[in-house]
Amino acid sequence: MPTLADVETWYAARGWTVFDFQRECWAAYAAGESGLIHAPTGAGKTLAAWIGALLQADSGGDEPLRVIWITPMRALAADTAAGLQQASDALGAGWNVELRTGDTGSAARARQRKRLPQALVTTPESLSLLLSYADLIPQFAGLHSVIVDEWHELIGSKRGVQTELCLSRLRALAPRLRSWGLSATLGNLDEASQVLVGTRRPARIVAGVAPKRTIIETLIPPAIQRFAWAGHLGLPQLPQVLAALESARSSLVFTNTRSQAERWFEALSSAKPEWPMALHHGSLDAQLRREVEAGLKAGELRAVVATSSLDLGVDFTPVDQVVQIGGPKGVARLLQRAGRSGHRPGETSRIVCVPTMALELAEFAAARRAAAAGVIESRRPLRNSLDVLAQHVVTLALTGQLSAAQLRAEIANTHAYAALSDAEWNWVLDFVMHGGSALAAYPQYRKVVERDGLLHVDDATLARRHRMSVGTIVSDTMMRVSYLRGGSLGSVEESFISRLKPGDGFVFAGRRVSLLKVRDMTAYVKPGSTASLIPRWMGGRMPLSSELAGTLTELLSEPAGAAGAAPELQALAPLLSVQQRWSQLPRPGVLLVERAASREGQHWFVYPMAGRHVHEGLSALLAYRLAQRSPLTCSFSVNDYGFELLARKLPAIDAAGLHALLAIEDLDIDLPASINASEMARRRFREIARIAGLVFEGFPGAGGDARKTVKQIQASSGLIYDVLARYDPENRLTRQALSEALEQQLDYQRLRETLQRLRSGRIEIVDVERFTPLAFPLWADRLNSHRVSSEGVHERITRMLADLEAAASETAAPRRARRAKA
């Protein structure tokens, strides 16, 4: 059994000193306490938790499973395990640290089935799976602790809920279990720690070394007038970014999306082919990513262009400089990324920010102000997610050792289900046993059965299929990209490949390749092409956090260009003065609405400055209420600053009329109606359907008959949603889709507050000749727009056809003219 003295000797040998917070953690662990350790990355959190556990080792390699270490990223698990093993060996604890993830081979799995190591590094999904095996249950009895790494990444998501459920199960199997979480700083640490340890125990919150000072700098574009108002590439800033990279030995270049990372890597490496540089994002093959991580550690790389795939985890050797391309969207995220430089506790870290559109200048200034004021985002834990619960019930029923009442008692101690009503619990039981409520007809359905008071899954096929779909991560249908002669590059969305013909080229994994053929969900490519087409991945966009949105509005309403103003805002001054000349500047107490006409129709640009989520709700509500007044088909799209409504014709309206449309009265009726009308709930249902086992993704390795059977029961979540809405309107999963849309997508609470604020304010309607600097990004980045219609399909199709005809005759004419000139 290692002692504190052993630890001190080891630390001294490596030139480290023990931090007070680490000592506090070890003592708390020894006393059997649970809690949360928060500190910036690289501040020694890992050892604060792990050594606490090692100090309790008694008979080394003969011990049963003592520690489960949960990491959110499979890709990081191997490094984590190696680090833990090293510490265990150095202290002579004699523990074996093994991995159990989706990548673990069958031999290791079989060995672990017989005997688990003293410490197991795993993901929430793999842990769930382990809990489904009855024969493993006795092995959990000697468990000392579960340590959840990067808890801030899990809490607030359904993976966090899944983790809570796993913890509740482990607490039932090992009643004296400690739970420790490692987290970056969060706005709601108290809540985060309570969620982790469960509702029935006290949680100790341990603060790591005081946050290091962070310097946030912005590369101000030289000519703001010529600077793009919209577009998310920012490549005009390339020379300045190159200059910044020139000045440092090693840099990490963070982008917000995978496409952006590909684009920037391509641009940087064509400008500096002699620099050793690499690309890292979540869709690249794991092997490629590992090579990049190794190169980074070995200090061989001048620069790595990365997405949030490098936000997490392993303690990389510090880089000299961190560059952030595009708006940070959140304070915590920017600080976390900045923390990658000067990677030593207490040191100053520095981040160089590169705006990709004009208004992001203000975002950076807002992030600096918010960081200085200590404003940090919260991650709100989810409650009552019936889809995740249904999955968990089936998972545990696979063991055949639990009664419904026991299960109910276990989950009652989780934050996620502490407030679950009996009606909801009974519905979930009905769902897994009978398909739906007793009233709706679900003949022949069976999955979970109750026998001798215990829950079972008798059908081996169902059991296997469930085990294959455990988890809450929902991805688009992905297609692997491989060289014909072997070597996988990673994966792209199937829809991207389906648009290409053999011979077409694209850029992926930082390489130019061309498509040879598509076989068995693999796109075979060969090196070389001239095309610079870059895949897009869905769902890469983060909304501006409410904390940052608040600071941003505050900044924009301050006199621009004033002495002492942030340099970003001084740079923005010319643009804001264009906005002022053509329209107005948004300011507190006034809602600015711009009306414009284009060949697309009539536009309203509305700027509540309340962040993307609230705008999505407001625009849906406004579009819905407009459509209720007269037949109308209206599309709407949002960004963090405002939203756009677009229809062929929008009604003439004055400020009083708009006030009425934004009235808070009847919000609880109109908002759900607008969510349904715009199919937001239907879209939201996709994830729920996957988690609750209503849809399946293709199963790798399932061939022949198994594949055929799965094919027979594959339907899109949209189709299932429609069938449920029609034949089982009381289904709670479709209702969950609605409430998720309300609470998560639209941030109902903030939306209410915004409406309250607008009620007492003024509305200024300005007719503009051209799209203003604020309107232009909304128009240009119109992605993922929703629509609401109160017209019949027939009217809509007739109108679209008339428009199409008109457009066709318009475009035909100039084309002929051009040809004549040639």
């Binding site: 007809a441 003949p443 022949q444 086992g693 027979q712 034949y727 629509r787 056809l801």
Partner: protein, 223 residues
């Protein structure tokens, strides 16, 4: 909607059916009866009711058009029949209700014939059914025997402009063959990749609307 196909006057019905008035024949494709049951049997909880509604719609079409012959272009059933399933009784009632109906099915990839009661009087065909000027098959492809009509693809098309977007089932009529929309309500759709010379007719809740050729590219993915 009236339309000329291979020189014959045909009627496209918005309930996703094709009527050949001269031969008093109702043609549908991809009905997928019992799909919900197949899901439930395999442990996927979808509610029942869609098969019953599909059969009711089929009955209404037969009655209204006074069809003497029903021609199903494959995938009448979604999976192996189970006599104890409730929709089996719905099918009993359907066949009993149309005693004089000639009921022909060109077998599709989903159809399992084993266990289908003889008194339903379904005449199965493995090979395409020739009835000049048409050749009826499941997965339509050009045929030397005539203009081919089939299903299998569940074609839909997406119309969009700046402020609107509609995804609708279509009758997809090409130079040498045509594809019917899927009949079953619990069926998905796949984007028809129409070329310049194809004709598309979109199904709306009230009627079928011929789409101008300019829509033929509209279905192709954008950007």
């Amino acid at each position: 909607m009236q339309i000329d196909i291979a020189g014959e006057a045909m009627l496209l019905d918005h309930r996703r059916a094709l009527l050949w008035p001269r031969r008093r024949t109702l043609v549908v494709a991809d009905v997928h009866l019992g799909k919900g049951s197949a899901f439930r049997r395999a442990g996927v909880p979808v509610p029942s009711g869609s098969t019953r509604d599909d059969l009711a719609r089929l009955s209404a079409l037969i009655d209204e058009h006074r069809a003497e012959r029903l021609l199903v272009l494959g995938d009448l059933f979604h999976a192996q029949l189970q006599a104890h399933e409730p929709w089996f009784a719905d099918m009993e009632r359907f066949t009993a209700r149309h005693p004089a109906l000639e009921f022909r099915v060109v077998r599709g990839n989903h159809d399992r014939i084993a266990g289908v009661p003889a008194h339903w009087r379904i005449q199965w065909r493995e090979a395409p059914l020739v009835d000049a000027p048409f050749v009826f098959m499941h997965d339509a492809a050009p045929s030397p025997l005539g203009y081919a009509l089939g299903g299998h693809l569940h074609p839909v098309t997406t119309l969009r402009d700046a402020h609107d977007k509609l995804r609708l089932p279509v009758f997809w009529l090409r130079a040498h063959y045509g594809v019917l929309p899927s009949f079953g309500a619990f069926t998905g759709g796949f984007e028809a990749r129409a070329s310049r010379d194809d004709r598309l007719a979109a199904v709306t809740p009230e009627r079928v609307i011929a789409l101008p050729r300019t829509c033929n590219d509209a279905g192709a993915p954008q950007r």
